[in-house]
């Protein structure tokens, strides 16, 4: 039997990849990066990097980068809350998660964005929990009814209460890491167990061009030491905060990510690192950062290819849209991004469900996009030879007008070869009219309600639940919010 070929998108030639990586290494050697974190600068200095007199610009030699690359595992593993189910982040595996840290929610009834609050975050987690093509959750909304100082940990607190899936998350304050790690460890039953079975990825974004802020650097160090994967989110904006050419932006992207990787490895050799990003093809008219631009997706697919060349797990912000509502733009940008990202073999694809430049989540879009992700997984599975001979046998007793509908071969394979339409409309016209001319957005809205109804909280041991509440309450207290209400009837 001939196996299915993994369909693959490769935008760069081998020679071009090598050239880009080489320039990135020269860039790190010659210009270096700004690192606004004393501990990281010290680690880098001790490892032989040249630290400027101002104590922030660090030049990294090739050897240091190469050693760090060699100690970085080619794949990271994530485990769900129960610890039973594992997900490999590496190779050609593709996992979708909704993008992180949006601030608004698209309200279906008014079709306008409103500030997200705790009930939105709860609904968001519940819906994602029911979506089979989202392997990971993301702490995807910032609840405006919670003080900003504790909102990073609060998002994770709610998520761990409501979901079984692994998380993609991140800190907003240096202080946020400890309670977040403590909650993850509480779920696992200790820091060592968390290290062996990571439950969350921590995103860390360098500030383009070539700078690591104190917050993001600390996140790299803390995550590495806790054994949690850091996802490096370089995000050059072509012609604004990075060179305008796609290849030029790739040079910067690789340099930024590699410098982050070095910091992780110096904090803890062998720490899992994901080569990710959220760059954009900067809009020269509006001054905005379109995630749905084809140029953005080309940068993503290309750096993912470079990440693979460097034998690293990869991530990208793809499968999201800059549209403000669930209109055709939302659909085509999302579909293009998920398909291209998956074909490029991006391991973690963050974005489905998102609108408006990573700032807005839509529950309806989540379920629509779940259908897109289902199509993508089917595409990735490719075309396999199922029978030998392939089809000759099915023509046995061939007659004019014969149908395959009742053929045993059809019954045997149709569910494996084809997937259902999901929410997509496949009615004949008259049936569509008779059913009320509903759009996919209306169907999605109904589906969201059905899913929220169907949702049942995955069981969480009482002592773990109590510990989560304690950790969150203590963090709120120490941050100056002793009376932060923690919703209990989730």
């Amino acid at each position: 039997m001939i196996e299915a070929k993994r369909p693959r998108l490769e935008l760069l030639s081998q020679a071009f990849i090598e050239r880009i990586v080489d320039e990135a290494l020269t860039l790190l050697e010659r210009h270096g990066v700004m690192v606004e974190n004393a501990e990281a600068v010290k680690l880098l200095g001790e490892a032989g990097a040249a630290v400027d007199r101002d104590g922030q610009r660090v030049r990294l030699g090739r050897k240091l980068v190469e050693t760090s690359l060699a100690s970085t595992p080619p794949a990271a593993a994530l485990y769900d809350r129960s610890g039973a189910k594992s997900f490999a982040v590496g190779g050609d595996e593709v996992h979708f998660d909704p993008g992180s840290a949006a601030v608004t929610m698209l309200d279906h009834d008014t079709q306008s964005e409103r500030k997200a609050a705790t009930p939105d975050l709860v609904a968001f987690y519940k819906v994602v929990e029911t979506l089979e093509n989202f392997h990971f959750q993301s702490t995807g909304l910032i609840a405006s009814d919670v003080p900003a100082a504790v909102s990073d940990a609060y998002r994770l607190y709610l998520g761990l209460r409501l979901s079984e899936k692994p998380f993609v998350t991140g800190t907003f304050r240096v202080e946020g890491f400890r309670p977040m790690r403590d909650m993850l460890a509480a779920v696992r039953g200790g820091e060592d167990k968390l290290r062996r079975k990571p439950l969350a990825i921590f995103d860390a974004c360098p500030s383009p061009p070539l700078k690591w802020s104190n917050l993001t650097t600390q996140s790299l160090i803390d995550s590495a030491r806790a054994g949690l994967p850091s996802e490096l989110i370089s995000m050059g904006m072509t012609g604004a905060t990075s060179p305008v050419t796609i290849a030029g932006t790739l040079v910067q992207h690789v340099a930024e990510n590699l410098s982050g990787l070095v910091i992780c490895q110096l904090a803890k050799a062998g720490a899992p690192v994901i080569f990710g990003g959220s760059p954009s093809s900067f809009d020269m008219r509006k001054g905005t950062t379109p995630m749905g631009a084809i140029g953005t997706m080309m940068i993503d697919a290309a750096y993912a290819q470079i990440g693979k060349f460097l034998k690293l797990p990869t991530h990208a912000y793809m499968g999201l849209s800059d549209a403000k509502i669930n209109d055709p733009q939302a659909g085509y940008e999302t579909a293009l991004g998920t398909v291209l990202g998956a074909l490029a073999g991006v391991n973690v694809i963050s974005g489905p469900g998102m609108l408006d430049f990573e700032s807005c989540q839509s529950l309806e879009k989540l379920v629509i996009d779940d259908g897109i992700c289902a199509m993508v997984y089917r595409l990735l599975a490719g075309i396999a030879q199922r029978d030998d001979p392939i089809a000759l046998d099915t023509f046995e007793g061939f007659t004019a007008g014969m149908s395959f509908l009742s053929h045993p071969h059809t019954r045997k394979w149709y569910r494996k070869e084809h997937i259902g339409g999901g929410l997509a409309d496949r009615d004949p016209f008259d049936a569509w009219v008779a059913a009320g001319r509903t759009s996919i957005v209306d169907k999605a809205h109904t589906d969201v309600a059905r899913r929220l109804e169907k949702y049942a909280a995955p069981p969480l041991a009482e002592d773990v639940r109590k510990e989560l509440v304690q950790i969150m309450a203590a963090y709120a207290r120490s941050s100056g919010f002793p009376d932060l209400p923690l919703p209990t009837d989730l």
Partner: protein, 217 residues
Amino acid sequence: MTKNELFPKMSEAIVAGDRAAATALAEDAVRGDLDLLEVIEQGYVPGIQKVGDLWEQGEYFLPELISSAEAMKAAMARLDPELKRRSLSSHMGGRVVIGTVEGDIHDIGKNLVASMLQAGGFEVHDLGADVKLERFIEKAEEVGAGMICLSALLTTTMTNQRRLLGLLKDRGLRDKYKVLVGGAPASRKWAEEIGADGYAENAVAAVKLAKSLAGRT
């Protein structure tokens, strides 16, 4: 070079976003002891106006706009000290205080508006990003500004535009300043709702608005 030869070249340098040429021509004007206000008005300003037109026609994009604004800035940097020496000022538009409101670190749009306002003849005091609301008022009082421009890129921070107007009112300073708002989530409707004096959707429109509010149209 005579004025008639110089002025079109100045305009061209601005339209081309050629910083070196714009500065060299300013140097020529200073050495040739020309009327510098006339140099600005008839040499450089037509250039920046042409740039605004090209933007509005969809011919020019941000890179051209910024390069031209910077060429203008470079020329002015050469001319301003000379004007000062002669007790003159090129800032016929008055003084503007501009910044991105607190909690918001986005400054690309704000920088562009600041550059274009400067190119448009305003004396611009740019406070940067994540600026405490108090600071806008302090600075405006300090430099005797007539206009305060507030940028916000996030829906979460645009409410600070409303708060600033409240602060001005509380201190009985509201009528002293024209307050302009901008940024992705802002709109004309938002400006009206919070009682601001105006909203502009891009840098070119912002300069037009500022000029009209300053009575310079």
